[in-house]
């Protein structure tokens, strides 16, 4: 998160300052990709399309950093849904299994909890949850959005979002306990 300097950075980016835009990009892009790896078939492509749309609407955006992130992740989710639809319309072609897909389908997710916890492994561990819970936890923790923003993005009530997040966290905690990771 950029924090208090976000307003100035956004204003400069809206005025055409490339360095300011790069600052925003570097701040958001990692969490965006981690989220999209969970929900999109081609996360890099969807992230690129998301940024094109963000750039197109950047000048008209008004709001704080939290609102900016909520706006950006809303766009990302829409683009991911579009990408999923277009993929289902296309003829099925066997694809090479990506690294992320291998992690998502790993039979022994407990091993992921045992190994040194890198960002990628942690996201992969979250991805073992039911998709709805995993998406909500990623939006809450990785994207840094609050309950209300996440509820708007996934089109659920804040209460339902909170319950789903708690269930997902309990499941993750159980996996950690079963594997003996109880430092």
């Amino acid at each position: 998160m950029i924090g208090a300097a976000f307003g100035d950075t956004l204003a400069k980016a809206q005025a055409g300052d490339e360095a300011a835009f790069a600052c925003i990009f570097r701040d958001v892009q990692p969490s965006l990709l981690r989220y999209l790896r969970m929900i999109a078939p081609d996360p890099e492509d969807v992230a690129g399309e998301t940024w094109v749309q963000v750039v197109a609407g950047l000048e008209g955006f008004r709001g704080e950093e939290q609102a900016f992130r909520a706006w950006l992740f809303t766009i990302a989710r829409h683009r991911a849904v579009d990408a999923g639809r277009s993929r289902t319309r296309r003829p099925a072609v066997p694809l090479e299994m990506s690294e992320a897909a291998e992690q998502l389908t790993s039979p022994d997710t407990a091993d992921l909890a045992l190994e040194a916890v890198s960002s990628r492994a942690a996201v992969a561990l979250i991805a073992t949850l039911p998709p709805e819970q995993a998406e909500i936890i990623l939006l809450r923790v990785v994207a840094g959005l609050d309950n209300a923003d996440v509820a708007r993005i996934v089109r659920k009530t804040p209460g339902a979002v909170r319950v789903a997040a708690h269930r997902g966290l309990r499941r993750l905690a159980g996996q950690a306990e079963r594997t003996g990771v109880t430092q």
Partner: protein, 260 residues
């Protein structure tokens, strides 16, 4: 549904009877979700969970920033669209066509409308519009009236052969008066001269009828109101006014202004 009411496989982290299990752990879970530090007495699995989620939101891998160049290129295109080649614009067009198309249509329609309006106004001031339209322009935008602009020679030269020359009918004058226009004294004189000397028939001229406009004269019964051109024809005489030269309708002796 939460706590003991949930299926076991829905809540594998819930252990009944344990401190921190079920709904009792909700404050801790909320703290983890908000990325706040846990209290020291929190269960160990909660600490592990917090570390795992903190790692998920950890620092960026350089590979994750590989799309920066493309994003900056899109940003540059947005900042200076004129300096972009067609090949470079293609990816952006994928997301912008509907927006641009929607924006261009109203602008084009507005430009066409503005051009047509300016052209019509110009034509009205030049006085080349057909009589009824010129008269309407005279009423609405203050263009010269048709009778003022068209000399008999001009009308003779421009009219099609075999057709009677156009003369603004009484309805035209009535329309002008009804709309509250302020014809110049010369125009009023012209109207007076026109009514008195042409000897035209009392039939109303085949002009486009004006819409319902407020009139200063009391309405007379009848489907349409055309003043007669007989002996009782009103004479419009200019009256000097400190603000405007509004014509005053003075009924001639032996008759009042009538309509049929």
């Amino acid at each position: 549904m939460s706590g003991p009411g949930a299926m076991h496989d829905e809540m594998p982290g819930y252990f009944p009877g344990r401190p921190g299990g079920g709904e009792h752990d909700e404050p801790l879970l909320d703290m983890i979700l908000d990325r706040r530090p846990l209290p020291p007495g929190a269960p160990p699995e909660m600490h592990v969970l917090a570390r795992t989620l903190a790692a998920a939101a950890g620092s960026a891998d350089p590979r994750e920033l590989a799309g920066e160049a493309a994003a900056l290129a899109a940003f540059r295109r947005s900042a200076s669209p004129a300096g972009v080649s067609h090949a470079a614009q293609r990816p952006a067009r994928r997301w912008l066509p509907r927006r641009s198309g929607r924006g261009r249509l109203p602008i084009a329609a507005a430009l066409v409308g503005a051009a047509a309006g300016l052209g019509s106004i110009t034509a009205a001031y030049v006085g080349v519009l057909p009589g009824p339209i010129q008269q309407m322009a005279h009423v609405t935008v203050g263009a010269p009236s048709a009778s003022h602009n068209r000399s008999p020679q001009t009308r003779t030269a421009t009219r099609p052969p075999g057709r009677a020359p156009y003369e603004p009918g009484p309805s035209d004058h009535k329309q002008a008066r009804s709309a509250g226009s302020t014809p110049a004294p010369s125009q009023a004189n012209h109207q007076q001269q026109h009514h008195g000397s042409t000897g035209r028939s009392p039939e109303p001229a085949p002009t486009c009828k004006p819409g319902p406009v407020p009139t200063r004269t009391p309405p007379k019964p009848g489907p349409t109101q055309y003043p007669t051109l007989g002996p009782g024809q009103p004479v419009v005489t200019p009256q000097p006014s400190p603000t405007a030269s509004c014509p005053v309708i003075v009924p001639q002796a032996g008759g009042s202004r009538s309509s049929h």
